[in-house]
């Protein structure tokens, strides 16, 4: 099954006033170039995404997608209609906000699959045409737990600054189900810095805020070496978040069309992101500048 997305205009993102900060992400140049394009629109084009095999066993039923023209491969979700959570929209909004902060979150685009959708091979539930596609941050990477035995102490130490930064971001958007063993992809080389990519933001934003769950500091299960967060990194990102304008937030959230994001959830996100931005120092437990 394939579809070409050619009927959605690209809306430029607000200009990013924050300079890239060395040490928060170590993506390759081609991934950063992709992020530059994808983070400026809801649906990046032109791509001729084609469904590939299922990939991973989570309640999002993710699957691989490949672009027939460029050969680019990404991971898509959800694999079937699950109206309880706006998974695709959350992935997209989180990625675009993270791009404003130069955090190690891979680029994400939205995509509407046309034509007949296969049911999820496991649940048999009907497919959802409104998906997100996350690019792979590195040519070779796997979950932290897969490489835990080969990540050196120096590599772990090098991850403290970027993961401390991501923790602040996760607090802002209430990403509540974070486990470093599963939600951090790593590409260890034996030498620092450790290349990391933080993934899976389905359970954040309106999912957290509509379920009445804890909405304070994000409850990360962190590597013990990273549990002592880097104070300067925490402050740096908190300050940067507090400087993101309402218009930047609105641009990112409002360009996600209703197929991916229900209006009541959009309203919740538009209400909570600025409110939590203004309280981010308090949420992460540091003095306001």
């Amino acid at each position: 099954m394939s579809a070409k997305q050619d009927d959605v205009s690209v809306t430029p993102a607000p200009e990013c006033k924050m300079s890239g900060v060395s040490g928060l992400q170590y993506f390759d140049a081609d991934v950063l170039a992709l992020r530059e394009i994808w983070s400026r629109c809801a649906v990046a084009n032109p791509y001729a995404w084609e469904r590939d095999g299922p990939n991973g066993v989570t309640d999002s039923a993710p699957f691989d997608m490949k672009d027939k023209q460029s050969g680019l491969r990404g991971k898509a979700k959800p694999g079937f209609v699950k109206p309880d959570v706006s998974r695709a929209a959350h992935e997209k909004i989180a990625s675009d906000l993270a791009a404003l902060l130069d955090l190690p979150v891979p680029p994400v685009t939205l995509f509407k699959i046309t034509g007949e959708l296969p049911p999820d091979p496991q649940s048999k539930a009907a497919g959802d045409p409104f998906v997100s596609i996350s690019a792979w941050a590195f040519p070779s990477c796997d979950e932290w737990r897969v490489h835990a035995s080969v990540i050196t102490e120096e590599e772990k130490a090098s991850a403290i600054i970027p993961l401390s930064a991501v923790w602040v971001f996760d607090c802002w958007i209430s990403a509540e189900d974070r486990s470093y063993t599963k939600h951090i992809l790593v590409a260890p080389s034996g030498k620092p810095p450790l290349k990391i990519a933080c993934v899976d933001y389905a359970f954040s934003l309106s999912r957290s805020w509509s379920s009445g769950g804890p909405c304070g500091a994000s409850n990360w299960e962190m590597p013990f070496e990273v549990a002592k967060r880097d104070a300067s990194s925490v402050k740096f990102v908190a300050d940067k978040i507090s400087g993101i304008s309402n218009s930047a937030i609105e641009e990112i959230v409002k360009r996600v069309e209703p197929g991916w994001l229900l209006e009541e959830r959009r309203a919740l996100i538009l209400k909570n992101l600025p409110e939590r931005r203004d309280r981010i120092h308090e949420i992460v437990g540091i003095p306001r500048p």
Binding site: D30, Q122, A135, S140, A187
Partner: protein, 168 residues
Amino acid sequence: MIKNSVTTFHAARCLQSHIIYRCDLQRATSANIHLGVLIELVGGNWHSLGVALRRALDKSEIDAIASTWRERLSAPFNYFQAEFETAWNEAEPGACIDWLASKYGASLLVEPALQVDHQRIVPADGDMDLEQVVRAHVFSMLDVEAKQFLDLSKPPAVVVESERAKVA
């Protein structure tokens, strides 16, 4: 050992999967190295899990693997055997393959379990007990799948676990 006079055995669920190393995650056109096949069978009171894994890779394949993985995957069976045993011990019957698939979903990929056609198993020897019947069937399925999926210039290593299922 429980002896039964088995004439046929119906597998309630028969699941299969492949183990693949993807040389470049970002490019769908990059090479995939096929490392192994998995079969899981649950039926009656029996649960069985089998894997056929390549014992070694060719030099060209090893060269195509990221340095992070090169040493561990140069002998796929040696690396994956422990994971196979952990899945067998940790996961519920019928969920072993997906236990592995939930962990390996990037460069090293264990495909989520795919349910294959309902199996009606007829023992070759009417005097076989249920465990023998199930194990023989899993071996047979692994053999068929491995021939289709793996480079069998060298025979793969095969392990099959089988037990009375913890579920009814």
